[in-house]
């Protein structure tokens, strides 16, 4: 196990990068705690796989240092870093049995036969493939193969971290839950440092203690699932996490109030802003309420998402979504209000920290 630090990591795939756009990773500074379960979350092409491969050494960063427990490993090749990595598509050695597959990383490192057998049997027990131990790996199902890939990482008892690169992509939905639960269980029992790349927020939020959200080659926020939900640091996080995503509405500032057309909502305190940034408010659909009074809105459509319904409406010319409570009726004259608890202010897409208590107003928006 190890603490992993990334210092000023920049990476470009092409030679001689000129502009910021040439960098797949713009500037990454982050420390991953020993024994933490992290998810790297972001849309395709945001650089999360590059980051993972830089940690495992499959990719050499253009700039910056990688440290394991304070020791610089940037120049070390993958095999010397003692990292386990599970890929999107299961990698198994076709010609070997399950047992031999698991023993392979140990044999390559010259571990004695008896010791290797002991470790392999432990891992077979852990991943539940004991009955298949002597079968050819080729004939197994996708999830069993992926378990073998995982198992090859687990046999080395001293791995610094286990990295997952969208490991459940090819797994059937019901098996996904089971495998994810097993990963969580392994993490809880053995305290591996785990990093899990995904673009699926449910996967990220259920797996990780800390979610690292990436966007266009940068880390935009690191936080607990709750942080990401309640206090997205960047409008991208607000939009990307949550279903549906956060409402982002352009606004203007009037003292300690944000203004939407002729309506105002008080902020907990007057924000300190430098220059004249682009201002937006961000409100989760969960905090948009139907109230007898408030800002008039027009219904566009109502979507049934199973456990709840989603109201799509326009308000002062902006699209908003709201989560309807069970059995909630939509009145003919629709008025919406924002719960001040859920009100976030964004300046140039970054969240403005407003500490202090929200002002005492019954409904967030008052005419």
């Amino acid at each position: 196990m190890a603490r992993i630090d990334l210092a000023n990591i920049r990476h470009a795939y092409g030679p001689d990068p000129q502009s910021e756009a040439d960098y797949a990773l713009r500037r990454i500074n982050h420390g991953f705690e020993d024994g933490g379960a992290y998810a790297l979350l972001g849309p395709s092409g945001c650089g999360k796989t590059s980051l993972l491969n830089i940690i495992s050494g499959l990719v050499q960063p253009t700039q910056g240092r990688v440290r394991f427990n304070g020791e610089d490993v940037t120049e070390l090749p993958t095999e010397k870093r003692n990292i386990a990595q599970v890929f999107q598509f299961p990698v198994i050695y076709d010609s070997m049995t399950v047992h031999e597959n698991l023993a392979f990383p140990l044999r390559n490192r010259g571990v004695k036969r008896a010791e290797a057998d002991r470790r392999v049997n432990e891992v077979l027990e852990m991943i539940g493939l004991k009955p298949q131990a002597d079968r050819r790996a080729r004939g197994l199902t996708a999830d069993e193969k992926q378990k073998i890939s995982l198992g090859r990482g687990l046999v080395r008892s001293d791995v610094n971290a286990i990295l997952f690169d969208e490991p459940l992509t090819v797994i059937d939905p019901q098996m996904k839950w089971e495998l994810r639960a097993q990963l969580k269980e392994l993490h809880r029992r053995f305290g591996y440092t785990m990093m899990y790349v995904t673009h699926d927020q449910t996967e990220a939020l259920t797996f990780a203690d800390k979610v690292v959200v990436m966007y266009e080659g940068e880390i935009v926020q690191v936080g607990s699932p709750e942080d990401l939900f309640e206090r997205p640091r960047h409008t991208f996080v607000g939009y990307f996490i949550g279903s549906p995503g956060m409402n982002i509405i352009p606004t203007e500032l009037d003292g300690a109030n944000v203004r939407l057309g002729e309506y105002f909502a008080p902020l907990p305190m007057k924000p300190h802003l430098r220059g004249s940034p682009k201002l937006e408010i961000g409100v989760r659909p969960e905090y948009v309420r139907i109230t007898p009074e408030g800002i008039p809105a027009q219904v566009v459509r109502v979507e049934d998402a199973g456990r709840f319904r989603i109201l799509h409406a326009t308000m002062e010319g902006h699209n908003v979504t709201a989560i309807l409570r069970e059995g909630e009726e939509i009145p003919a004259a629709l008025h919406l209000t924002v719960d001040p608890k859920g009100l976030n202010l964004y300046a140039d897409s970054w969240r403005v920290e407003l500490s202090g208590q929200p002002a005492e107003t019954p409904h967030g928006a008052a005419p």
């Binding site: 095999e79 990595q85 049995t97 002597d134 050819r136």
Partner: protein, 295 residues
């Protein structure tokens, strides 16, 4: 129950006709010849299995068959490993890929009798670049007189002509291996040999099966090149079954024995190819009851 009719046969009729005209009827002609005797004048007499017995008891046939087997064995033993070796060292990206592929494909584009002619001239002691150079260097090389030299020339020629086919097939197998396998191998700390043994070789398995089958069948039927280079000599040392067959059928006009030999020859190739195929694909079937013990 719906009444059944036989109209669907019309759908397969065109294929049946094509196969009949292109394969079955010519083959049946040969079968026909092999059980009859003729003294010219288009008169045929039933001969039974006489020609078959004659062929199977003739030392000439067994010697030619033995030569064929040795020749195929040698060229497989050289071309398959060499082709794999070449494929492993071919570039994977950049302009080198196209250059390599074109260069490798060149020998395959040359008509077989031209290949024979090239080597026939190349190896000549008086004017051939290879032959003349060797004799200048004091090497006693003469494929016209020395059976060993004749064999060596034929083998080198075949290796030159066909190794690139094996290499191209192996290369196709290699480039289809996803990157994740190599990455996983690095994570697992595998040596280059282990990567070859446990990733590249198994993944090339199928194309190598095809390569072995093609090269076996083709070399076992080899005719044009030795005919042009050595004409089966010196003596009978490079008289393969096909050369022998042509001598018998056209040179001596022994239609019956030649036909019988053709059939036997065909059956041998069919059987050996099947054996190769069966042995090489034995592991492919996913069998849930596979209970091989882990060593």
């Amino acid at each position: 129950m719906k009444p059944t009719n036989q109209k669907a046969w019309f759908l397969v009729l065109p294929v049946l006709l094509l196969v009949a005209i292109s394969a079955l009827i010519p083959l049946m002609t040969v079968v026909n010849y092999s059980v009859q005797d003729t003294f010219g004048n288009n008169q045929f007499f039933w001969a039974g299995t006489v020609w078959y017995e004659q062929v199977l008891h003739s030392e000439r046939f067994w010697n030619a068959l033995l030569r064929n087997l040795i020749f195929s064995g040698i060229i497989l033993a050289i071309e398959i490993p060499l082709g794999v070796f070449v494929a492993l060292h071919m570039p994977r990206k950049g302009w080198g890929v196209a250059a390599c592929l074109v260069l490798m494909a060149l020998p395959l584009l040359i008509p077989w009798n031209v290949v024979g002619t090239i080597w026939q001239v190349f190896g000549r002691v008086d004017i051939g670049l290879l032959g003349a150079t060797l004799s200048e260097l004091g090497v006693d090389y003469n494929y016209v007189q020395d059976p060993v030299d004749a064999w060596a020339t034929l083998i080198v020629m075949d290796v030159w002509h066909w190794t690139s086919l094996v290499a191209l097939l192996a290369y196709a197998g290699l480039v289809s291996i996803p990157d994740a396998y190599y990455q996983a191998a690095r994570i697992d700390g595998a040596s280059p040999w282990a990567v070859f043994r446990h990733i590249q070789l198994p993944k090339m398995g199928r194309v190598l099966t095809i390569a072995v089958l093609l090269r076996f069948m083709d070399s076992f039927m080899i005719y044009t090149e030795p005919f042009v280079v050595t004409g089966g000599g010196p003596g009978n040392s490079t008289t393969f079954l096909s050369i022998d067959l042509v001598q018998m059928a056209i040179g001596q006009f022994d239609l019956g024995p030649a036909a019988a030999m053709s059939i036997v020859y065909f059956l041998i190739i069919l059987t050996l190819s099947w054996v190769f195929y069966a042995v090489m694909t034995r592991d492919d079937a996913p069998s849930p009851t596979d209970k091989e013990g882990a060593p």
